[in-house]
């Protein structure tokens, strides 16, 4: 069998060596390739644009009673990675003759749910109030209620749901 050997007999080589440099470069190269791949993998999907919402039908136009504040639920679809996550959101419809307004049910202040009291829109969270035209009457809300794009086809009211940035004075779409 082999002889026992004394660890001390082998000279300790100089730390700086060409082979050492090459080894270091190999390690650095592999780390760089992995690092870039992982970086793209982790961060990339955060910057993909989400597809816009489809038109959602709210029902026949003449079923919305004149001057009433009517709540309707729409199904919204949210692109998130491997799934399209569908959930419901509320919108408010006010019809005065041919003049129709569809409001987002999200308070432009801090995102609570808008509700109604008598013929006013209110947000119970922080006490904002709006008239049936969406104009601010009271409270900390930075802007009037957000209107949503709509169209009427074959007497059916359709809306395009969108989310807007909160707590700023201008209405700005989140996408």
């Amino acid at each position: 069998m082999s002889v026992e050997f004394d660890e001390g007999v082998a000279p300790v080589p100089e730390r700086r060596s060409f082979l050492g440099l090459i080894s270091g470069l190999i390690v650095a190269g592999i780390s760089a390739v992995l690092g870039v791949t992982i970086g793209r993998f982790s961060i990339g999907p955060a910057f993909t644009a989400s597809s816009g919402q489809d038109w959602t039908e709210l029902g026949p136009l003449d079923e919305f009673a004149e001057g009433k504040l009517v709540k309707k639920n729409v199904i919204v679809s949210q692109d998130a990675g491997w799934g399209k996550f569908q959930s419901q959101r509320s919108v408010w419809v006010v019809r005065k003759g041919d003049d129709v307004k569809v409001f987002s049910g999200v308070c432009p202040h801090l995102g609570c749910s808008v509700n109604t009291r008598a013929d006013k829109f209110i947000c119970a969270c922080h006490g904002s109030e709006w008239n049936d035209n969406g104009d601010t009457l009271a409270g900390p809300t930075p802007r009037g209620l957000d209107t949503l794009e709509f169209r009427v086809e074959d007497n059916k009211l359709k809306v395009k749901y969108q989310d807007f940035k909160q707590a700023i004075t201008e209405k700005q779409v989140l996408s």
Binding site: M1, S2, V3, F5, E7, V9, A10, P11, V12, P13, R15, S17, L19, G20, I22, S23, I26, V27, G29, I30, V33, L34, V36, T37, I38, G39, R40, F41, S42, G44, P45, E57, N73, I75, S77, D79, G81, W82, G83, K84, F85, Q86, S87, Q88
Partner: protein, 489 residues
């Protein structure tokens, strides 16, 4: 001249500053001692290409850990979403195909390199005297690598994963006495379900990595303690080199070759992903190549003999490997002077490779299998070539998506039922959702109609009314017909 002199002076000053920083760090961390320990290990007989396998394995383990951690950033361990999330990683996430490919081929490479490492150690007789525990730890690590393969194989939840694991689970169930219990524990029930997927996931990403990491530490410690065995011929015993730089260089080059091979494989032969698991299909399951030898032997073992290749043979093989250094106590290490051991190694390795090729050959020449396997491969490629399609998730909307177009509920439903069961049957905090209700027991069309007339015999809880006398029978019919269209995705 003056210019060169200034550069020279700056260089010296920069170096002395670096040295000071290094000293400062050393005082607090002992980094010099650690570096010496790590790099100056003496290697009997000098650096060799034959020693690179262990280092490559350590590198591969690191690759598996790093890629694995990041894959879980998008992967969802649920039978409903696993396949969609893997498909998303493979087809849509930037760098996803490469990362998953590295993990996929890294796993294969680990099996190959672990066997190569074991074969080299066996051939060099490096498991003998002082190195028994080192070897035994290595044998357990090989077992863990196979457990990694088995648990990881299910995670994509495609056809191959589902049916491959189904066969594996059945094999585990065949073990006498403990089999059925073991199978239930493994599956988390009596069938392959989302619970199985969860526990395979936990095992794959938490338990096995912890176990392997601990054994890597033990293996390295025992290795350093025993010192490298050196070549079997003892001719170069006087020659002693340090680990750094020659062996470090050889290891680095081998690691680079391995990494380039993995990247190339991931790029040119992307990791496969077939259509989502369909338990009703007649998918022809085939194990990954490294389980093929056992699969082939299974064909020669009818009936109760099936446990010979599936259980007895692997148990005997690993038991013998584990105990090898304890009964092979001769000091002789030269492979040619250990003809029995060398012949056994060649027989087992050669036999395994032969069985793999035989299994492939039989699949190719059997017209029935060949056609089915070809069809499955075509299905896989067809699915793979399709662009990524996000999975649609969410109660009411899923029903609408399944029926193609929004099917409006009948007015009688909206008036009488929607307040509790939701505008589209999605349910609410006070009442269950109605989506997929028709597939539940005691909820046939006739049952549902009877419930609307008299809910009492069905034991429904309040606030569900016991009956709806105000709804005319034809409207009840419409409500139930609409309910039958509410299908879960």
């Amino acid at each position: 001249m003056l210019f060169a002199g200034i550069i020279w002076k700056n260089k010296i000053m920069a170096e002395s500053k670096l040295n000071k920083l290094y000293d400062w760090l050393d005082e607090r961390t002992g980094i010099k001692e650690i570096t010496r320990e790590a790099l100056d290990e003496p290697i009997r007989g000098g650096a060799r290409w034959a020693y690179v396998f262990g280092s490559i394995l350590l590198f591969l383990f690191a690759i598996q850990v790093v890629t694995g951690i990041f894959l879980t950033m998008y992967y969802v361990p649920s039978a409903d979403h696993a396949h969609a999330s893997v498909s998303y990683i493979q087809k849509a996430v930037p760098g996803g195909a490469l990362l998953r490919g590295l993990h996929h081929y890294g796993a294969t490479a680990m099996v190959i390199l672990a066997v190569a490492h074991l074969a080299q150690t066996f051939l060099f007789g490096a498991y003998k005297k002082k190195r028994e525990l080192l070897w035994a730890a290595g044998v357990i690590m090989l077992l863990i690598i196979f457990a990694f393969s088995f648990t990881g194989y299910l995670l994509p939840w495609d056809q191959a994963a589902y049916f491959g694991t189904k066969v594996g689970a059945s094999i585990a169930g065949e073990i006498p006495v403990v089999g059925p219990v073991q199978q239930r524990i493994m599956l988390g029930g009596n069938d392959l379900t989302t619970v199985t997927l969860s526990r395979f996931f936990t095992t794959h990403v938490f338990l096995l990595p912890l176990g392997l990491a601990a054994l890597v530490g033990l293996h390295l410690y025992l290795f350093r303690r025993a010192t490298p065995a050196g070549p079997f011929h003892n001719r170069d015993d006087k020659k002693i080199e340090r680990f750094y730089p020659k062996q470090v260089f050889k290891d680095s080059v081998a690691i680079l070759i391995c990494f380039v091979a993995l990247v190339a494989a991931a790029k040119y032969w992307p990791a496969e992903l077939g259509p989502v698991a369909d338990p009703t299909s007649d998918y022809l399951a085939r194990p990954p190549w490294y389980f093929m030898p056992l699969f082939q032997l299974l064909k020669y073992s009818p009936g109760k003999w099936a446990i010979i290749p599936t259980v007895v043979l692997p148990a005997v093989l690993f038991g013998a490997l584990f105990l090898l250094p304890f009964f092979d106590r001769r000091e002789e290490r030269h492979p040619l002077r250990r003809p029995l051991a060398t012949a056994l190694l060649i027989l087992i390795l050669g036999g395994s490779i032969g069985l793999i090729f035989l299994a492939r050959h039989q699949d190719r020449t059997n017209p029935e299998f060949a056609e089915k396997l070809k069809q499955q491969e075509e299905d896989m490629h067809a699915y793979f070539a399709k662009p990524f399609e996000p999975q649609i998730v969410g109660g009411a909307a899923a029903a609408l998506a399944a029926s193609g177009k929004a099917q409006e509920p009948p007015p009688a439903y909206s008036e009488n039922c929607a307040a509790c069961h939701g505008d589209n049957g999605e349910g609410s905090p006070i009442a269950v959702g109605l989506i997929g209700v028709s597939s539940k027991p005691q909820r046939s069309k006739e049952d549902l109609l009877k419930i609307l007339d008299d809910a009492k015999p069905y034991g429904l809880k309040k606030p569900m009314p016991e009956s709806f006398p105000k709804i005319p029978p034809e409207d009840k019919q419409k409500i139930v017909e609409w309910m039958m269209t509410l299908k879960a995705q």
